[in-house]
Each structure stands twice: as C-alpha cells, then as structure tokens.
Symmetry: C2
Subunit: 442 residues, 2 copies
C-alpha cells in the first residue's frame, strides 16, 4: 500500500485496518508515515499495539513527538512500552516529559525504573546521556564456550552482541572480545588469551561532540563508557553518533547565520521559538551597525559634494562582507573539525593574506571598471583602490576573529556571516571615505 | 612517549627508534602523529614497515596525503601495501594518483588489481565508490554449523563478519543473517529458516548523501550494494558514512557562504585552490549588486535633498540581509535533512510570514527610535516603516528562494547568505526610497 492510501486510512481512524499494513513495514518507515497524523490518532494506534512493537516504532519517532505520544497514553501502557526500549532511548523520552509525569512512569517501570533514574542524572549531551546500559560482560577466566553459552542464554539484540566486555568482579573494564573472535577460535580457549587489553573507553561526562570525534577517528561501532573508578557503566553505539553529528552540523550551520540553537527540528519549532532564536542577534547587530551610520554621518560633506559616491556604497560593503563571511566560514569549520589547530595561526594568516591579495586584485579591477563606466575615471580609481583594500582587510578580519574567539575560549562560531558583514561594513566605509577624500581632494 | 618527543625523533629521521614507539599506538593515532612530518621522512618510515602495518596506518591518513606517500614509495612496496587494504580504501587512494602511476600499481597487484579496476569505474560519491567487496556469502540450503565453519576458515576482519549475506548461485541477494543469529541458534538449523528476507539494499549508483540518509533512518551498521540485476556486489560500512557526513556538512557550510566545494580539507588546500573556489561568486555578486547601485542612482535627487537618508542605508540593508540569511539558512538545512518536504511549502510560508511580522515589529520599533534620535521624527517614521517592510519581505525571500530552487531541481544551497544579502539589498533600497519619497513628499 502506498503512503497516501495509508494516510487516508489513518485519517479515517480505521486503526484495525492500519495494523496489518504496518506489520510488513520497517519501524523507521512506520514512524515516517506518522509524520502528519494528528496526535490523538497516533495515540489510538499505539494503544492497540503490543508494547514491543510500539517501542520499536516510538524509538524511531523524533523524541519531542515520542514524548507527547507517551504522555497521552494510559500510564500503564506507556510504562510497558518504555520497559521494552533501549535504556538510552527511554531516558531521552522521559527527560522531555513534565517532571511529575516522568516520575509516575518510572515508578510504574519497577526495577527497570531504578536504572533509568540513574541515567536521568547525566547531562543530555554527554557520553552518559547517550549511553545504554545493555551490554554483555564476562570474566577473563571464562572460556569461549562459556561465553557463547552466556550469549545464547541472554540473546542480546544484534547491535549489542558484537562486543563482549571483560570485567573484573568489581566491574573494572580490563578487555574486550569481538563476537567474531569468539566464533573463529576453539571453544576451550580462555577469554584472557584472546581479549584485546588496551580498550579505548570514554568517561561518563565527556561532551558528545568529543565522543563523535573518537568514533570518527577510530572507526568504532561501539564504545564502552566508564565511571571515575574505571568501572564500566554502559555502551554508546554508532547509530546514536550519526544522530549527534547531524544535530551538531545543523547547529553549526544555524550559528553561521546568527541563529541560536533550535533544539528541535524546524518542522517542530513554533513561531515563538523561531522568533526568540533569531531576534537577539538581529537587534544586537543593529547596534553594531550604528558605527556604519556614524561613519557616513561624519563624512556627510564628502557625500553631499560628490553624490555619485553613494551609488557604490552597497557594492563595496557587500563585497567586503561576502569576502569576510567566506574566510570566517572556512576558518570556523576547519577549527571545529580539527582540520586547523590553534598553533597553525601563522600559516593560516599568511595563506589568507595571499588569497586576499589575489581576490582583491581581481575584484578591484572589476570595481574600477564599473566606476569608470558609471561615473568618471577618477571615481574609477577610488572604487578600484577601495575594493582592493576592503577585500584584503575583510578577508583578514574573517580569519582573525574566529582564531581570537577560540583563544579567548569562546565559541568561534560567534563570528557568523552576519556579524562579520556588519563589522566589515563599518571598516569598509571608513576605508572608502578616507581614500575618496584623499584622491578627490575633498 | 609524548607527541612532542615522537615528533623530534621523526624530524631527526631516527626511524628505527620510532618503530617500537608507534608499535604500541593505534594506527589512527600514528596517522595523526604524521600530520606535520615532511613527506620524505614519512616515506622512509613506511619503507621499513610490514605491508599489513603500513596499510593499517595509511588507511587512517587523509587520502590526499596517503596517495602522495604511495606515489613516493617503491612501486612494489606500494602495491604490497594496497593489497593489504580494504578494497574501498585502496580505490580511494588509487583514484587520486596520476593515471599511469595508478595503472602501474594495479598491474603489480595481480588478481587483486582486477577487482580494483572494476571498482575504479564507479563515481567517487556514489554507493559503488564507497563500497568494499569483502563480505561473507552463503547459500540458503546451508546450516548454521556450515556457516560458522566457513567463517572460521575465511576469518574475515571484525567489521565485515557481523552480517552474512545469503545469495543464490547467480549471486542474487535473497536474505541476511547476523552473526548474533548464528550464535544463538542450534547448529543444524538451515540458514533459510532464520534469515531475514526483506533485505534493504542500495543500488550501486546511488548518491552518497542518499546512502547516508538510509543509514541514519534505519540505524544500520552495514548495507549491501546490488547491481541492476539484483546481484550483490559489495558492502558499505557505517564508519565510511561518518566520513561522508562530515564531508557533506562541511560542503553545506561552505556553500552557505558562497564557497564552491573544496574537495580537500582547508589544511591541504593551497592558495590557488582557495582563490578559485571563492572568486566566482564574489565576481557574480558584484553584478547582482549593480541593481542596488542603479536604484540609488535613480533616487539621487531624494538623497541630495535629504542627505541624512544615507546614514541609514547600511543599517536597513544589513538588517534585511541578516534576516533573509537566517530564514534561508533555516529552510535550506531543513530541506537537506528532510525535516521539511517540498509539499510543506504552504505551512512554512505561513510560519515565516508570522515570524517575519514579529521580527519586523521589534526591529521596526528599534529603527524608528534610532531615526528619531539621530535625525527627526519624520525620518523616524520613514526608518520604522521601512524596517518593518524590509524585514518581512527579506524573510520571505529567504524562504521562497530555496523552495523555488528545489522545485527547479537546482541545489537550494545556491541561495547562500551572500546571494540573499545582495538580492535583499536592492529590494530594500527600493522599499526605502519609495517610502521616503511618499512620506517626505519628495
């Protein structure tokens, strides 16, 4: 059945006809088909599904929506569904519910609730907030045969079965064996003979962006999480890192346009959220812009005597802003991905100086031609010289600002396109009027 | 040994002392320590290492550098190293070498070279370009015991052993079993009894960004790749997707500032590359900017009679540009991640209209206050009204342009901050002078 017919069935609330259709679908596809269905109909659907099935689907729904669904279901049903989820997904949903509702559900989850309560203490964007507590652990004295028997008995889901962690009695992490190692070695081999000892593990309070970098660098599928006493407390799987990376990229892109992090997808953000995430920088930039207004006011006389100079104001300040936004964007991204380090500043400064000169010469020539064409040869000289200087200076401002912010331990992304444009505008106008008054002898 | 002492050993070319130090390090850490070491010293190191070890390290080096190392090694040694790599990594390196050098190495790789030659035909940024040909395949009639025996005999590396693909004799993909399924079921079970039949596979020519979306949506670790006749040709692993996602995010961020894709990291890009990736849009935008110049020229008389109007030009056009850049950035990212679909346009238009009105009222009030303060009440009215209109219109332009580009099957990212700013400037000036001439009766 196609998406559209499924949607029609949903909207007519023919839930009992929907169930056999979604039975053949991957939970991620079911979650996608729920995208435009009113919440009350979704709740009716989940009330009819088994807790296991409902859990599989809700794990694939964006968590702000998943939380709403759980909140509208009968508390007993919601608790049953949460018990069927990976602990990391359950925690993610519960942390979005009103505190009393979350506590009610945790109480209904009995012993599983205890574990969830522990996990809820971690910050959302740390390794502790990402980890699940489902993993398979053995002792180093055990044999491969015993380990395989343990696996058969616990029957963990596929993604948690690939690595088996070797722990001491006090839960200190001492080694790791892969499922593949268990399969290709003789059954009576002792685990300590084949385990890898230098396990790379992350502390429970590491920032999620740093965790993502470790996954990328080493190409891991799963990373163990340890507490301050080296005791193993959970695992992070790479599928969660894909989501983290997408969120972090979106945040960086938004910051590049002076938008505060949305925390939800655009689709789920209301008018008020969008407004409040955008208004701060727009107002702040107005005040930075007052410098430009003051520069123009100071040179009012020059403008009044050669009104043609005003024609080129947008051309000059926009080109400066565009150049500065380009270099700032390149540098911020390179700093964020670790492609450029702080101590590279000298090399980068030289590179951007050279790039700026090349860009300046080409753009200056274009500017001079336009000046001659639209006005006079003298104006052409003014525009050409101004353009060269503005481009070189803007390019360097775009490079220096992110480095400077990083040195001051501030987020380099504050040097967004809009901020650079605004700063460069004032600088550009100052360059423009100085050159004009010098060459035109005003 | 710390990074700095290791670097010193390297720079003194004491290779035989370096080897025991790096023997204890993860290949990814060794690769990182090579970052600032001159190429000729790196080549001396790899000449001393076993092909297996060299392959492990070179796989972790950015591929533009890995290719340089291979090219400077003796061809026999380079071919031996390539034979030890996963096919996808070997192909990535060979595709960056001059054609004759690559062909020489492929000839030296004997039968492995044939497979590489086939893979080199795929485009870099498609599933075929990402896939490796190392995977384990069995028939549906086999038992779990036979499958495990096959695994013991082939002893595939960990990341390729997690899924075993069930193929017919003509290599058509019919099912998949996970290593976990093999371990938890009785040895005499036939594969067909436990295999999952609806395998999600990707065609060999799918764009890598789409492949990444599938990994994210379903949370897969490995995806099989099939050709046009449904025959299985390779697998893509999630660690490669992490790299693809980072590259794609960087590209999107660069596009947002009108920079053409760099194809290498900033650190590896030379002055000429940086110049050439930036100059096109900077020059193109100058021509778009001529519209703004013409608008000012057309209203020269108004400016000459009320010179104070020029003070507010940067303030008004910058605020418009910033607002438009914000909405364009939000919409482009939402379209790219699939958070907003094309058919959502009505909903998004309404949302951005409302957000634009809210932003416009606040910014208009601020603008009016500044106009009164710096000039006169009448100018305050002009600035306030202009600001409201510019913000609402810019915000909608920032929303409509990415949607329009997507409808025309163009990349929505063309509507970058700089392009939006430039378009919005001309529109803003037109609004400004129309309102000024109407209110001030000029």
């Amino acid at each position: 059945m196609d998406q559209l017919s499924l949607k029609k069935l949903f909207l007519k609330e023919r839930i009992l006809e929907v169930i056999p259709v979604i039975a053949d679908m991957h939970p991620a596809d079911v979650a996608e088909s729920l995208r435009d269905i009113p919440l009350e109909i979704q709740v009716k659907l989940f009330a009819e599904l088994s807790p296991e099935w409902a859990a599989e689907i809700i794990q694939e729904v964006p968590s702000e929506f998943g939380a709403e669904i759980l909140n509208d279901l009968a508390p007993n049903k919601a608790a049953e569904i949460l018990q069927q989820m990976y602990t990391d997904d359950a925690v993610d949903l519960l942390s979005r519910l009103p505190k009393e509702d979350a506590e009610e559900l945790i109480a209904l989850m009995k012993e599983d609730g205890q574990e969830i309560k522990e996990l809820l203490k971690y910050e959302d964007d740390t390794s502790g907030g990402l980890m699940a507590t489902e993993f398979v652990a053995i002792c180093e004295e055990q044999t491969i045969g015993e380990a395989l028997a343990l696996l058969r008995q616990q029957a963990p889901s596929a993604e948690t079965a690939y690595y088996i962690y070797v722990l001491k009695n006090d839960r200190t992490l001492v080694g790791v064996v892969s499922l593949r190692d268990l399969v290709v070695n003789p059954l009576d081999t002792r685990v300590e003979a084949i385990m890898k000892r230098d396990v790379i593990a992350v502390p429970e309070d590491m920032d999620q962006e740093e965790v993502a970098r470790i996954f990328e660098k080493y190409g891991f599928l799963v990373l163990p999480v340890i507490d301050k006493e080296q005791k193993m407390v959970g695992i992070i799987t790479v599928d969660d890192i894909l989501v983290v990376n997408e969120e972090e990229a979106t945040e960086d892109i938004h910051k590049g346009a002076s938008i505060a992090p949305l925390e939800t997808g655009y689709n789920y953000a209301g008018v008020w959220t969008l407004f409040s995430k955008r208004i701060f920088w727009l107002v702040a930039l107005i005040f930075v812009n007052l410098i430009s207004s003051s520069v123009i006011a100071a040179y009012e006389g020059i403008l009044a005597s050669v009104i043609a100079l005003t024609f080129f104001i947008p051309l000059l300040i926009d080109t400066g802003g565009n150049t500065g936004a380009q270099s700032a964007t390149l540098i911020i991204r390179a700093l964020v991905t670790g492609d450029v380090k702080l101590f590279d500043w000298g090399k980068v400064l030289l590179k951007e100086l050279l790039v700026g000169v090349c860009l300046g010469l080409v753009l200056g020539l274009a500017g001079a031609a336009l000046g001659v064409f639209y006005s006079s040869p003298m104006i052409g000289v003014v525009i050409g010289l101004t353009m060269i200087l503005i481009v070189i200076v803007s390019n360097l401002i775009g490079m220096i600002l992110p480095f400077g912010l990083t040195i001051l331990k501030l987020d380099p992304a504050v040097a967004s396109g809009p901020l650079i444009t605004t700063i460069v505008d004032a600088t550009g106008l100052l360059i423009y009027f100085s050159i004009a008054s010098w060459i035109l002898k005003l």
